[in-house]
């Protein structure tokens, strides 16, 4: 039994840990930097500006339609790097494992991470593992850090939205959050939805090739589109108006949200981005998005306006206007 689960010995620095690293991590991630067997990776530094981002991943359940915590941990950090307009170069990974965690599950997660990293063309060059006693963690937590390079002339920041700019999203909203909710133990409704988890840096590269002067990029993860837009509006000191009729939401997501009393605008995404660019370049950016498989359902959803209060408003499909809800805490479903 003990052989099939993680024990405290796997984090002790001794032979069990070496074996885990050798058999599992090095084998799966296999690249020259990791294979040197040092506690760090030494790489040539690229010219220009560097971008660095880090993200910790905790999720229940660990495996879900469309992905798992492993692919999510790779995509999440690559996307944070990509939202600077940067091209990711390398990743590091740190695992916190709970004593008793099934080795088979860890293997599945690590292989999924390795596949995601390979598909993205970004090596996992260094890492760390710790094991905590049973009951002091929930299975596995994964922290990844990404390093990337930002090309000359790219200047993307949350503070650059200007009145007259157009707001675009790269695809349908809320797929990840609803796919996860559908699996939670007390919520087993049938859906055919998959998480949208995906690495977006190649999509970003093709967007920048079409419109180099993109002002803002952000991935609407936790808190969904609404929190993402509020953050950008506050950072830039502008207002935003989005149009309900233009928001891409799958029928299954709309239906699940309806049932649960949630708003798709507040539900998490893991493979979508929000882009803000000068209004006259919106159509060119939309065309670039549509041209890429991850942007096929992209849409222009609204525009940046002057507003000292940084409010995000929504024009309803009926022509009325209201504020977009800015979540205070966790989105809790409504009764009724």
């Amino acid at each position: 039994m003990a052989e099939n689960t993680i024990t405290l010995a796997h984090g002790s620095g001794g032979r069990a840990m070496s074996q885990l690293i050798e058999d599992l991590f090095r084998c799966a991630f296999d690249n020259p930097w990791l294979n040197q067997g040092n506690d760090c990776a030494v790489m040539d530094s690229p010219p220009g500006r560097l971008v660095m981002a880090t993200d910790s991943h905790v999720i229940t359940p660990l495996f879900f339609p469309g992905g798992d915590i492993g692919s999510l941990a790779v995509h999440g950090t690559l996307n944070d790097v990509a939202m600077s307009g940067g091209k990711p170069i390398s990743l590091s990974v740190a695992f916190i494992l709970e004593e008793g965690f099934p080795l088979a599950d860890l293997e599945r997660i690590v292989r999924s991470m390795a596949d995601a990293a390979r598909q993205a063309g970004v090596p996992v060059v260094t890492g760390d593992t710790k094991v905590v006693p049973r009951g002091q963690a929930d299975g596995v937590y994964i922290t990844t850090t990404g390093l990337g390079r930002v090309s000359e002339g790219v200047n993307i920041a949350g503070s650059r939205a200007r009145p007259g700019d157009a707001i675009l999203v790269s695809g349908t909203l809320g797929d990840h959050g609803v796919a996860i909710l559908s699996l939670r133990e007390n919520l087993q409704f049938q859906t055919t939805l998959e998480s949208d988890t995906a690495a977006l840096h190649e999509l970003v590269a093709s967007m920048l090739a079409a419109v180099p002067d993109i002002h803002c990029l952000r991935d609407p993860t936790r808190g969904g589109l609404s929190c993402c837009l509020y953050e950008l509006a506050q950072q830039s000191g502008v207002g935003m108006i989005i149009e309900e009729a233009q928001l891409p939401v799958r029928e299954a997501v709309a239906g699940a949200c309806e049932l649960l009393g949630l708003d798709p605008l507040n539900v998490a995404n893991e493979g979508k981005l929000v882009a803000i660019c000068p209004g006259h370049q919106a159509q060119a950016l939309l065309a670039a998005l549509h041209h890429h498989p991850l942007g096929r359902e992209a849409a222009i959803i609204g525009q940046v306006v002057e507003d000292a209060h940084g409010l995000v408003r929504l024009k309803t499909r009926y022509g009325g206007m209201r504020h977009v809800e800015w979540l205070a805490g966790e989105a809790l479903p409504r009764i009724c």
Binding site: N186, L260, I335, C336
Partner: protein
């Protein structure tokens, strides 16, 4: 979802709004109360007030089950949840309602209480089956809409001899609250409204008869309406027409769900399991006679209040909070002295700010 799209058709909604605008008399003033929090939410979410003439105003009623839950019942829930053997299951937005000292179930959970959010009573029963060594208390809230589900859960627990399951009953009744708000009582003056948009799902259970007093005794038109924008606007048009014709009737716009006699089977289940309480405290409305359900003596063994004797004392609403006036339709949320300052969805002073069905939370979120 497809069946809903026709009630959300933008063209149809605009046409209905235009029809209302054509019929409304510019020289008159129309105040229509939507009783139900579901309507409050829908009106805010779809920004319906902005589609209508300015002399037609929605007045928000007290029909948000989370909002009217008084502090002492929240204290009771917290006291139950803090017992080491108890797993307390409840519907989601109950977790944020403040009890005495602003304490919430959410905070109790952070401090170690085992509080779980459920979507249905069947989930709570399953928790009891999965944890035979623990006591599972379903903290039941809601109007007549959710009460039958609690009744079914208690019958099911009895059938299965599920000895570790019980319910703490906080179900409240619509007609007494409607009477208190519309006709006023010793605590407060009546809400002066020209018509009432009647509850959707509550009416599917209780039917239309219980509203007769509104039309006949209180001389106020009432139209039971669905939750979709087209439903709400059609109900408004029906109320405008009753007003102009000088009629005071109970009408049913929501015929696709509500039948005049309601759901007798669901009511029979409620009659079997529950007994009206002599009186019950409502946040903002005070104690109202025969306004809530307790668990009948035949089911006393499944009543958490009798299984775990917990003493709680009445909790006064925060002195600065004006929820009472808001819940009674006498004050617009923004007119409250603490709206958006001391009282926000992050740290609600009053319960109207807790649930998105609460009038203040809807006004704060949707502007």
């Amino acid at each position: 979802m497809k069946h809903l799209s026709e009630y959300r058709d933008a063209g149809a909604v605009r046409q209905m709004a235009a029809a209302i605008a054509r019929e409304v008399d510019a020289a008159r003033y129309y105040r229509f109360m939507e009783f139900c929090g579901g309507h409050t939410h829908a009106i805010a979410r779809d920004a319906l007030a902005g589609l209508l003439p300015e002399n037609l105003q929605f007045v928000h009623g007290p029909g948000c089950p989370v909002c009217v839950l008084p502090g002492e019942r929240v204290d009771l829930a917290i006291a139950l949840a803090q017992r080491p053997e108890v797993i307390l299951c409840t519907y989601a937005d109950t977790l944020r309602v403040p009890g005495s000292g602003g304490h919430t179930l959410l905070r109790a959970r952070a401090q170690g209480a085992d509080v779980r959010m459920v979507y249905a009573t069947t989930d709570a029963l399953q928790v009891a089956r999965d944890h035979p060594d623990r006591q599972v208390v379903f903290f039941a809230i809601g109007f007549e809409t959710t009460a039958p589900a609690t009744a079914v859960a208690l019958l099911q627990a009895r059938d299965e001899a599920l000895g570790n399951f019980s319910a703490c009953c906080n179900h409240v009744l619509t007609p007494p609250a409607m009477r208190a708000v519309l006709s006023g009582d010793q605590e407060s003056a009546p809400a002066r409204v020209n018509g009432v948009i009647g509850p959707s799902h509550v009416s599917a259970i209780i039917g239309l008869e219980p509203y007769t007093f509104v039309a006949h005794e209180l001389q106020t038109p009432l139209v039971v309406a669905g939750f979709e924008p087209l439903d709400v606007l059609q109900a408004v048009l029906m109320l405008v027409r009753q007003t102009h014709a000088g009629r005071c009737e109970v009408e049913n716009q929501y015929t696709r769900v509500v039948s005049p006699q309601g759901n007798p089977k669901a009511r029979a289940l409620m009659d079997q399991v529950f007994l009206p309480r002599p009186s019950f405290a409502w946040r903002g409305l005070g104690r109202l006679p025969h306004s809530a359900l307790g668990i009948a003596d035949d089911f006393a063994d499944l009543d958490a209040e009798r299984r775990f004797p917990v003493q709680v004392v009445p909790v006064e609403d925060h002195p600065a909070c004006q929820c009472a006036a808001v819940l009674r339709g006498q004050m617009e949320p923004r007119a409250c002295r603490v709206f958006g300052r001391g009282c926000t969805p992050e740290s609600p002073l009053g319960a109207c700010m807790v649930s998105s069905e609460g009038a203040c939370a809807a006004a704060y979120r949707y502007g």
